[in-house]
Amino acid sequence: MASIVTLNTVGVADRASEDLVGPRGARPARAFSRRNIFLYGTLFVVALYYLLPLYVMVVTSLKGMPEIRVGNIFSPPLEITFEPWVKAWATACTGLNCDGLSRGFWNSVRITIPSVVLSIAIASVNGYALANWRFKGANVFFTILIIGAFIPYQVMLYPIVIILREIGLYGSLTGLVLVHSVFGMPILTLLFRNYFSSVPEELFKAARVDGAGFWGIYFKIMLPMSLPIFVVALILQVTGIWNDFLFGVVYTRPETYPMTVQLNNIVNSVQGVKEYNVNMAATLLTGLVPLIVYFASGKLFVRGIAAGAVKG
């Protein structure tokens, strides 16, 4: 090792001792070039544009109503109060009951977790079968599934109401979980199929020679090497289902409303004064879950998006 270091230094010294005229080595980079100013300026403005509403929401949710009535929406709170947050969570009135967003939160949790687990479990097996076990009619099946993604939800709303009523699940959380799982199927299956297609076919062949069957290959070979794509699917589904409003309002009853529907009921209530601080706090509370999911899995999400580059 030592000799290499000496060699290198000697090399550098040699090069320095030669007199070269004109530009040499790497081109110097200027910190304040026009390009940099333009680039960072644009990024700053765009960031500001997106962050400003969030700032207003946070600031407003920490103010009391008298301070809000003064009207300076950009000024920071003179007196920080967490009362709006407590009220939004525990005592705000939606329709008949006055127990705040907490009820909706737990409903949403009970909707999201089973829907996400169920849809990802089924879609990943679908995608695996479509990518690796070329059965007869696989392409037809796949095409039908993809067409499903292009049919507007509005068209299917009422037929699904009837279906759920007939099987006795209308208005229940189970019914909504079922609807979410079905509607997640086309895009998730596409996602998994494309991911599993990028896994080298020889790996699959080797596993077959080694005597692994359909489930053996899925659980022991495919699953352990597909963490990134599962994270992508997880984020897609958690945010999608958590933020859903349409299915929530159509397929549930007031006592099983998800958080988004309750939020709407709080914010849009027509009686009494508009409590902006409570509304802002309620909105922030509702958006907290997707936000946490993004922060917790951001790195994996990017890896999953670039999953085509993952090699065995």
Partner: protein
């Protein structure tokens, strides 16, 4: 005893016939190489033998047992792939054990077999590593080990060295040959497009083209007595020289192309010939001699040197004989310059003559 036998094998993907009426008998302990350019069906044939592709018609027998409908794991084969196909999330040990665990082999037996395979392939220090931490050569060794632990009679290699650099390829090639010598009674079927690998490894070579076997013979025969023009052109680097002309049979047989007359008294005609008419005459560059060595050859001519390609050990000279391109190889130490006129000569007994129409050897 026959190890693998393929009878009347047909395979089509929809309208496309990939393999047609293929017959192949492979002896126990034989090293058979399937050689051909890409798209000739050689890998497809291997996949059929492995059971990874369902065949359209015909039978496949391994050790006398009809395995046509059996799963890959039940056929008594081990397979090595071009891209290694190691399970990335398992250690080397896990990779080797995977097939045995699936077959519910007892734990101590698994350990025993892994230890034996690791010793044969010199991968003992790597057992705890993941495939990502291995070099290309080490990965392919592990892939061979995965076939080895299965304790099978038939090894299938699907271009196993194509992803390696030239030096490693040569090293591993010898190792595969050693492995074959070490494992008596193990049949190896090896797919490649590299003729050097085919010539060095094979007991017999099957040259394939568009789903059919062109010639199945030992490397010596394939090289010296190619059965048709395609095989002659495919084997050998630099490629064989072809000259179009006439075969004359009045008096002693001779090949004529323009002014050139090559006497064929010493040429051993195959069952197809001799037949008067248009033919293609082929002579390998390494069988053409120059200067003093040329003087002893039955056929001699004077040619002009057009291009010289020195390759170190020998030099490839491009010239022209009666309008036909003629390449020949001379010792690397002999000085040859462009524009010189040199004496060349060869023995027509070493040539190959093909019918111009059927392209079969005469």
């Amino acid at each position: 005893m026959t190890s693998v036998s393929i009878k009347k094998l047909y395979l089509s993907f929809g309208e496309v016939e990939v393999l047609k009426d293929l017959e192949l008998e492979i002896e126990k302990g034989e090293f058979l190489v399937l050689l051909g350019s890409s798209g000739c069906g050689k890998s497809t044939l291997l996949n059929c033998i492995a059971g990874l592709l369902d065949i359209t018609d015909g039978q496949i027998l391994i050790n006398g047992r009809n395995v046509t409908w059996e799963q890959p794991k039940d056929r008594g084969i081990g397979m090595v792939f071009q891209s290694y196909a190691l399970y990335p999330q398992m250690t080397v040990e896990g990779n080797l054990a995977f097939g045995l665990k699936n077959a519910r082999v007892p734990k101590d037996e698994i350990d025993r077999r892994i230890a034996r395979a690791a010793a044969i392939l010199h991968i003992e220090p790597l057992l705890k590593r993941k495939p990502a931490q291995l070099s290309g050569g080490q990965r392919q060794r592990v892939a061979i080990g995965r076939a080895l632990v299965r304790d099978v009679d038939v090894f299938l290699f699907d271009e196993p060295l194509s992803n390696l650099d030239a030096k490693l390829r040569a090293e591993l090639r010898v190792e595969i040959k050693r492995l074959h010598q070490q494992l008596a009674n193990t049949t190896m079927i090896y797919v490649t497009h590299d003729q050097i690998e085919a010539m060095t490894l094979a007991d017999r070579i099957a040259i394939m083209r568009s789903g059919a076997i062109q010639q199945l013979a030992d490397p010596h025969t394939i090289y010296n007595k190619p059965v048709n023009k395609y095989v002659a052109g495919f084997i050998g680097s630099p490629g064989i020289n072809f000259m179009d002309g006439e075969l004359k049979l009045n008096g002693s047989p001779a090949f004529r192309a323009g002014e050139t007359r090559i006497g064929l008294e010493r040429y051993a005609f195959s069952g197809n010939g001799p037949r008067q008419g248009p033919v293609t005459f082929g002579i390998r560059p390494e069988h053409v001699f120059m200067d003093r060595a040329a003087a002893e050859q039955p056929f001699r001519a004077e040619v002009g040197v057009e291009v010289v390609e020195p390759m170190g050990a020998d030099t490839l000279v491009w010239s022209r004989l009666d309008g036909h391109e003629l390449r020949f190889r001379v010792d690397g130490q002999v000085p040859v310059r462009k524009g010189e006129r040199v004496q060349i000569g060869f023995d027509p007994a070493r040539a190959s003559i093909f019918d111009a129409e059927t392209e079969m050897r005469l």
